[in-house]
Amino acid sequence: MEPQPKRRKESECDFDSWVAYPVLSNEQSQDTELIEAFAAPIINKKETSRLIKELAKVYPLPGLLHIKRVRSCKDKGSPHPLEVIVCLASDAPVIDHSKDMHISDLSSSGRLNCEGLGDPFLVKIPACPPLTRPQFEQASKHWPTSFHEDKQVTVALKGQLFTSSQKAKMQEYMMAAVAAARAGQQSGMEAVGAAVVDPEAERILAVGHDCRKGGHPLHHAIMVCIDLVARGQGGGAYTYDKYPACQSVLPYSSPSQKQGASTMTTCGVVQDGDSAEESGQPYICTGYDLYVTREPCVMCAMALVHSRIGRVFYGTASTDGAFGTKYKIHAQKDLNHRFEVFKGVLGQQCEDLNRPVPYIKMNS
């Protein structure tokens, strides 16, 4: 594929200066929730398998399949190398706290043969299966759990998901959004810019900037871009002819365009985008990526859900932002379209847009 002709200088900043981090759902990013349970040392190792079987019957742990019932004590000098979860504190009988607890207190009226068990003690165990490596590491400090690692998420959390050549592309796209933001700022708009990209064809389809001032209070850069994409597909509701930095390009849909185009890897994305390509017709923003200089507001975030955007990349967070700050619309349960969001792309350049306009430009 022929690279797009571009006039923009790519050397303006080095792509080692920024890292794209994923904006994960609350479930993936929150601290491990803990619940109390009684554990006891296994003082007679030969009883272990019987105890595990009996405990599974007497004190099953539904919803805690990630918890390993038995742990080996790290301290090798310990007289009892194994400890077992007897039951959740909430499942234990009411206990007289003035006395030391005895294992027979947990025998459940003799249903559990406590032979081989030492006296119980309270532990805190992770209430939910860990979803990310940081959660797994945190959870493991309390009690061993199983972990089905999503390697992509692990790599993404380290900021290492994208290769140098992918970052070069991402930087190019964000530069287009930054340039649009600057152009908008020159005409008195707030300095926010956005670009919609077809990642397969490696092409920018639309570039827009904030167009609120003097016109329309809802013409945020993203709303402008969404309509420009619609226009490129033969639809659209507005014209942005007054703003030369707001432009749309017709998308390609010929299969030859896709050959040789490297598809950026993504981690566990729910993309229902392929079907539009199968039919050869682009459908709204299905399978496209959006680059925007700052985190979208709730209106724009939901507009991207409606538009079936593929992925979103933004530069800096914003106070009422809906992709991480106030909401995580892209990971919202109940919504029928979810996608990945990354922040920090060209973070410094995007942050600089929030500074007052240099006064030389103001006077020109």
């Binding site: 809802l218 729910v270 459908y283 507009a303 009422d320």
Partner: protein, 187 residues
């Protein structure tokens, strides 16, 4: 002085309450718009924006027509309100602050954001929107703590709600010819 103005502003927004008769009348109009959407292969949602007993904007979904998924009834009607203001050289904010939205279905999260950003004080709607509702069903945008996203607004719901649901059901029974075939969802 400034504080006093803000105070008055709050009072006028709080006391904004149309009578039942008005609500019936405007909602009937909004339902006509929704029917028009249905007849044109769009999601049947219709709305009206009323200022001083005058209809400034009328909208229905125009998503398929414009290939722009944000062209919901509310967005279409808001454009007309803004156009009306432009013609009369009026500040959209002062007009919107006294404009009521009548809509057959709970505004989605996007539209609720847009209503905040344009400072609409009151929304009267028919049925809840379990898929995208931004006024309590999925998220509660009108009363959310979003200091940089316009003003909060009030909602009154349940006007001809069943009828609004029936229309949506009728629509979703048909296939949307513009949507791509859904893929089986991977978990």
């Amino acid at each position: 002085m400034g504080t006093e103005n803000v105070g008055n502003d709050v009072v006028s927004r709080e006391n904004f309450q149309p009578c039942a008769e008005d609500i019936q009348r405007w909602m009937a109009n909004a339902f006509d718009m929704a029917k028009d959407a249905l007849e044109n292969g769009e999601v049947p949602v219709g709305c009206l924006m009323v200022y001083n007993n005058e209809i400034l904007g009328k909208g229905r979904n125009e998503v398929n027509e414009t290939k722009n998924a944000t062209r919901h009834a509310e967005m279409v009607a808001l454009d007309q309100v803004l156009e009306w203001c432009r013609h009369r050289d009026l500040d959209p904010r002062t007009v919107c602050e006294r404009t009521v939205l009548y809509v057959t279905v709970e505004p989605c999260i996007m539209c609720a954001g847009a209503l905040r950003l344009t400072n609409i004080p009151l929304v009267v709607y028919g049925c809840n929107n379990d898929r995208f509702g931004g006024c309590g069903s999925v998220l509660d945008i009108p009363s959310a703590d979003l200091p940089h996203t316009g003003s909060s607004f009030k909602c009154i719901s349940g006007f001809r709600g069943e009828e609004a649901v029936e229309m949506l059901k009728t629509f979703y029974k048909q296939e949307n010819p513009n949507a791509p075939k859904p893929k089986t969802r991977k978990e």
